[in-house]
């Protein structure tokens, strides 16, 4: 991991009426690093993800992205065209509900090919080859390449969304509860797959989850959020095995109890 962070945020604040969704939040993520943001629903973690990825503008604070040449860019002042370009090349976004990340009227192969075409790929045979390879990587039978995602199970849809996102080899992937809507057994398989892909591709991942087990499996570092504030952060094992903040202790205990 290099010293310069890939993405760095300082002093992020955002209020919804009287509620502070983000309260002076700072975070940084380095190339190849997996950082999990945990907390219960309403803690502000999804808002943080949307602000960091430029989808939502904070009232205060800044988010800086460093491109492959090392040039820093202020995410919220880069303009929509540049931000979109970033989202379809260097960045990826995996939604909790695969329907939000997939085109349900487009075949599996077309879904995987979209980002390639958006970045200029114009060779049909090449697109088919890439789609076939990625279906295999996410453990979907390549003969389903022309099937609509609606015919897939929830777990397969989520794996397809991951293939569609990773096909352009992004440097940074935002994941919002990627295992959220799935059965426990399906979750385990997906987490295993994610861990393999992240390691193979050297991805930096910002993972939002309320699932402590998922965080423990995937993340190098952990941030615990409550009421829009980061109440504790550190290496995953340290935070989970020796929680300092009472809220973290509660979170960890509730997992153990369950």
């Amino acid at each position: 991991m290099s010293d310069a962070p890939l993405l760095e945020a300082r002093g992020l604040s955002l209020r919804y009426g009287p509620i502070a969704a983000l309260d002076e939040v700072g975070i940084e993520i380095h190339p190849g690093e997996v950082v999990a943001i945990v907390g219960e629903s309403g803690s502000g973690k999804t808002t943080l993800l949307r602000v960091l990825s430029g989808l939502l503008r904070p009232e205060a604070g800044s988010v800086t992205y460093r491109d492959p040449e090392g040039t820093p860019h202020a995410v919220h002042s880069m303009g929509e065209a540049a931000l979109r370009r970033l989202h379809r090349s260097d960045w990826g976004f995996v939604h909790q509900n695969p329907r939000d990340g997939l085109r349900m009227g487009v075949s599996a192969g077309g879904n995987i090919g979209e980002r390639l075409m958006a970045t200029g790929a114009r060779h049909y045979g090449g697109l088919r080859a890439a789609a076939t390879e990625w279906l295999q990587r996410v453990e979907i039978d390549p003969s389903r390449i022309d099937t609509l995602p609606g015919k897939f199970s929830g777990g397969m849809q989520q794996r397809l969304q991951i293939a569609r996102t990773l096909v352009t080899h992004p440097r940074l992937v935002f994941m919002d509860e990627p295992t959220g809507g799935l059965d426990v057994s399906v979750q385990a398989r997906l987490l295993d797959l994610l861990r393999t892909l992240v390691a193979e591709l050297g991805l930096a991942v910002l993972l939002v989850t309320h699932d402590i087990a998922a965080a423990r499996l995937l993340a190098h570092r952990l941030l615990v959020m409550r009421h829009g504030k980061v109440v504790e952060q550190g290496l995953t094992d340290r935070v989970l095995d020796d929680p300092q903040h009472e809220y973290t202790q509660l979170l960890v205990a509730s997992v153990l109890a369950a």
Partner: protein, 285 residues
């Protein structure tokens, strides 16, 4: 001929024409970009060529000669109706000969006879937005044009090839204009698309109901979307015209009885008539 009393030359008042001309100038300056304009209610229904009529009314002068075609033919009912309209409200000369016209208003075809500098081809456009089947929200498609974010259109072509082995768009085949804007060529057959490319005549597109004008200036690059390994191929019925024998022109299929009988004839009536006359003359000589 003189214009109908009680109406301004070309039906529209001069201020409206100026507004449309400003939109046209902007459209010519930004080839393929859809320029919103204050489309007026016309005495023909929306969808029947009101955009084309407003454009024609704004560019036509008393010395112009107008040709109007629908489906390539001068004698189809809507072409007859529009030609009569302009004869009545502008009093201009009309013609069926492509070569003699200075302004040609068309619905769904580009004439077979190559157009030359100084001519204006006015297209009637029902739906100016090439992306509308993929993204019906106008605000979103505007953003996609602004950002040249056209991956979705290629996804559609990819899907067609995956499902049918080739692109399943036979008309209104999307094009890139001057390497920047994705544009609907209006519902001309894909067969006509190559004629858009570097055409010496000015091409103006008017969509009355959707209130958009766009243009392709003379000699502008217009490329039909495709893949490197699935290049664009225009298609026509594999038959000669039953009347003039042309193997190059676009053909209409005419059903001759209800027992499966049919024949193919040129959709461009002027082109076909000219060839037939030439053949007759040749035979006589």
């Amino acid at each position: 001929m003189s214009a109908e009393a009680g109406y301004n030359f070309g039906y529209l008042d001069e201020n409206t024409k100026r507004m449309i001309r400003r939109a046209l100038l902007k459209a010519v300056a930004v080839p393929g970009h859809q320029v919103p304009f204050g489309s007026r209610e016309m005495p023909l229904p929306y969808g029947w060529g009101t955009g084309g009529i407003q454009v024609t009314a704004s560019v036509i002068g008393p010395d112009d000669t107008l040709k109007v075609i629908d489906q390539g033919a001068d004698d189809t009912t809507n072409a007859v109706s529009i030609r009569r309209f302009f004869a009545r409200v502008a009093g201009v000369a009309t013609t069926e000969r492509t070569g003699e016209a200075t302004v040609i208003q068309t619905r769904h075809r580009i004439p077979e006879t190559p157009l030359r500098e100084g001519q204006i081809l006015v297209y009637q456009v029902p739906m100016p937005e090439p992306l509308f089947r993929l993204e019906p929200r106008v605000a979103e498609t505007k953003r996609m044009h602004a950002l040249a974010d056209y991956g979705l259109m290629h996804v559609k072509l990819y899907e067609d090839i995956a499902r049918h082995g080739h692109v399943a768009i036979s008309y209104n085949y999307p094009v890139m204009v001057a390497d920047r804007y994705l544009m609907s060529p209006s519902p001309i057959p894909a067969f006509d698309n190559p004629k858009l490319h570097r055409m010496p005549a000015l091409q103006l597109f008017g969509a009355g109901r959707e209130k958009r004008i766009y243009a392709v200036p003379p000699y502008t690059d217009v490329r039909s979307l495709d893949f490197e390994d699935h290049p664009f191929r225009p298609v026509r019925a594999d038959a000669p015209c039953a009347l003039c024998g042309s193997r190059e022109s676009y053909l209409d299929e005419v059903v001759t009885d209800d027992r499966g009988g049919r024949m193919f004839v040129c959709s461009d009536t002027d082109y076909c008539n000219t060839r037939q006359a030439a053949a007759t003359q040749e035979a006589a000589e």
